[in-house]
Symmetry: D2
Subunit: 335 residues, 4 copies
């Protein structure tokens, strides 16, 4: 039931355009149930986090700044005020519904280590059963990093332990990509060893301030993963008089802005492309966007007819919707 | 968009049976949108309050105890723990969606003064315009009582100023009833003086620990008020294996329990009776329940065909639903 | 028991150098009792606020951004993270101990209206008694501005009502100065009318993003006001290896930085000058600093020997210390 | 820098008499620095918890109810209201200053498992270094129990793993006592294995609702442990007109009340007895109080002159004072 959004641009965006103003932002999604199926489950009201890199003053640390809250994002006066003032070229936003982990700042995404920032939408199946084996394999740095009690933060610890040096001053795109592949492989391995058959939903997103890696993944051959979309263009701007309606424009061939989100932020159908299940998206420092299949035993190539028959029930049950057709995203007025 | 619930019984109820366990309690309603129409508006995640009288130890003060919170009720560990331990024969519960007033403990219902407890579901139209006139008429006690910035708390101040002595050690049912009539009349008067035409929704509820008074009222001749229901019986208990399903049973003619709520707490159709628009319900100390029409220029007698044509759009727009037929309350499984 | 600090510089300061890092910042003062006399009263743990103007991106609104919190500043993870990232040429910081008003974000200073920012250290004596008369005189804008229930926010409303147009796009230094004079005069007038004899402590601070006005004032001829200091120089920087020790340096005659604070932020005696009781300090947009006596019936000219015998007991009782000699500010190690 | 208090009585105490009203309660100690030495360290403003057993309604579960908060206890409106209403014959109270672990409800004491309740005042030296070995030895129940990230909660997990069955419906006094001995021995063992030389301060307190076990312990032969006191009598009551002054009276030989606390709650010298370093106090279900030495390599028998020369500097540095003489506890007025 979590949601996340990523913005990477050649110029900074005011956080409000991403978070508080769009009527279909992840915060406003938190109380907009048009895309929700299981209406008896709680909303994304269990915590919020936003992380961003500063392009103006911060020429040394390159570490992201984080603002988190356990009160609902939609009524957080500090968030509204900060979002109207802060601009950044690289932003992660996350709203949370507790599945595992208690309501605590320590459990709010994004998680940070040095210049790395990480968030997760999904859930590691029966995490309690693999927690001890997972921890045993971690380096001390990764083990001691964890402050909260979520599967997501431990997944970040696994990711850190897959990097050559999690405290490095810079990372190559390949290092981050490979660490992500290995993180998923490790989590699958722990589950397999202990005989867990329920699939895990692993939509992860990580950045070092330069590269962004996002996965849409489920450890199943027959289920769909939690939804994930991207959009790219030249400008992302408000239109019309109502307020809250945004669209992505493409003025020329350059892509100045790439956004990745669990749900489309705009009502414009053409703005958003679905990332395929069990694929990774890599946004390079120079704003190239690559889709890479995550090939393991759960992979089904697009050429295989089975790739079209993954069922959405599992992700739905978990509150991580997979609206396959885009009809559902009509203007709310036309409901 | 607020919701409230009242329990009055000859024996104490464990708060959990009222608040946290029923799958259709006001807390769980907070994220159950089956009865919601305007799904683009925020949930009742903006604060919570419960007030109760202690029947065991408190033989002196007879003042209610209050627990309030600005984090959502559905994920409040303290509430879950307290509700499982505390029992009381007279309980008010309230969830809040901010319409006026900021997110602050000071703005959480129920409000307390001495042994009186008060809550409101609705909204005073264009309250800013009548605030100064209203305040000017208050006694100092009532004026200085207000800590927050909601129309509801100021309405309570008006109520206090209509009592012979708001700090009295006891109140008669007639005193409370008359003060409630006068409160509504006053609020209408201020609106009229300044020319406000938008109706106000005044579902108020007050108690002194003995009598309970609740109103279902709108200052309009053509609109429905926000919804209000009551239920009475001998026991209120959980049934079935699923958990969270409750019903009211009538073992004999005695009414040991009376509940009043903005929305039915159970899925049993026969358990709940709708209180008619512009009526007051009085529960006497001896558990008699009276319905009294609030007769003023907005009153339409049941004999008048116009009483059947009040429209629900206004209350709906405000998020205060008026499900006229009870079909909507089918079991969620049958959805 | 509140404390505040103001920074105005020709170049921006990282908020951490003002708030979180100095071992004698207002936040760390909150648990450093060397300057406290009444140790049985609560610490400044009842809320915190910081307001700043952005010099980089904000070329339109010129409205300050505010971050407030009801959890203690010294343990606020968001504050620590934001302070390490945000820079500003004009900052207000405030820590609060509740004297009037409940623990609520609405009650946290600084208060904002348009491009104006206001805070208060002190207390309006028997405020409940003058509240109604004060409110009656306010313009609707000023009256409706107030969200919380503190004497300080109502004092800001008085200030707003003394401006020609509180929503103006710019203010002259003279307008702000005169409004401040009139605010103090009005508050004295209300107290006098109703016969309040206890003095009010009115250390106010206001800015429009250009001019800064601060007062050190008490409505008494024989008592000292709450303490207020200023410091000016070319750079404000950390020294030594221990961390947390700061000093102000004067590289040349230019004053690039002016700081005003209820207590000195550094251990360097020569860095800080005491503002005299019943004086106003004006920092002009061009960084000139003027001291102006507030001449009314409570004023005692420096030539009058009585100016040396104001007693500090009253301010002390209120937890607003007036350390007359600076010996008390020795290095803590030498304690 | 934490503080705790335990009340066990033959009849219930209103929580306010223990927590909010005494001017020297652990909450009011939180801002009373008379007994503090290191005044540059933060106050106990980083969280609060109270746990109690219900003697009236709860005849089944015998599980304690817990109320915790991350805002300072001294300004918690819910705590003040609840404490004035709730009565219990067995209460644990704890205020916290973060040494390890972040500001989070998950980190607030007392910790609960089934009918067991546990709290800690002190610190496990270099806990990060022993955390992995400690976790490896835990049962799954104990391992999965931990929600936060404090040394204290992990110490509770060790305690649980020393019980024959942590989910048992009842415990003997001997089982609890032995598990406590083994917990301390285990923690010492981990430290020794890894070569940690800094002493750990292990003032633990545990109860099953019947027996109470408290330790005053330091893993050192030359340092004093954090302070711990007890008081017993027939009634604990307020006296005088000022309010907040309490004393323990002994009407006859029966001991109806036993209190254990890190600092005396009253100003009456004769009310409180110091528990000796490296001793355990056991309060049996029938209200007998036993002192048992914890004999291991850090034990110094009272006959040994070295028992008189333990130095208090270590506990002082940690903010866990050991006022050896009671002079320091004079009435504050005489300061």
């Amino acid at each position: 039931m979590c949601r996340f959004v990523v913005y990477k641009g050649t110029s900074p965006v005011e956080l409000s355009h991403l978070l508080t103003r769009p009527c279909h932002s992840i915060i406003n999604q938190a109380f907009d149930s048009r895309l929700r199926v299981d209406r008896r489950r709680p909303m994304n009201g269990d915590g919020f986090g936003v992380g961003w890199y500063d392009s103006v003053y911060d020429e040394e640390s390159h570490q992201p700044c984080i603002f988190t809250s356990v009160t609902p994002a939609w009524n957080n006066a500090n968030l509204v005020r900060l979002a109207a003032k802060i601009k950044s070229p690289l932003v992660f936003g996350h709203v949370r519904a507790t599945t595992t982990g208690s309501l605590s700042l320590d459990n709010c995404h994004p998680f940070v280590h040095g210049r790395l920032m990480f968030m997760h939408n999904g859930g590691i199946a029966e995490f309690q059963l693999i927690k001890r084996a997972l921890q045993a394999d971690l380096s001390d740095v990764a083990f001691n990093k964890v402050q909260g009690n979520t599967d997501s933060e431990w997944a970040f610890a696994v990711f850190l332990s897959k990097l050559p040096d999690p405290d490095a001053k810079s990372f190559t795109t390949a290092q981050l990509r490979d660490a992500m592949f290995e993180t998923i492989a490790s989590l699958n391995h722990y589950a397999e060893e202990i005989g867990i058959t329920e699939p895990s939903l692993m939509n992860f997103c990580v950045t070092d301030g330069e590269t962004v890696i996002a996965t849409r993944y489920v450890s199943s051959k027959v289920d769909e993963a939690a939804s994930l979309w991207f959009s790219s263009g030249t400008t992302f701007h408000e239109y019309g008089d109502v307020g809250g309606h945004y669209k992505m424009s493409k003025a020329d061939k350059r892509e100045n802005i790439i956004m990745i989100a669990s749900e489309p932020l705009t009502f414009e159908r053409a703005d958003w492309m679905e990332i395929k299940t069990n694929n990774m998206v890599v946004v390079t420092p120079k704003m190239n966007l690559l889709q890479i299949p995550i090939i393991d035993k759960f992979y089904v190539p697009p050429s295989d007819p089975a790739s079209l028959t993954r069922t959405i029930e599992f992700a739905r049950e978990k509150g991580l919707l997979v609206p396959r057709s885009i009809e559902i995203m009509d203007e709310p007025e036309s409901e």
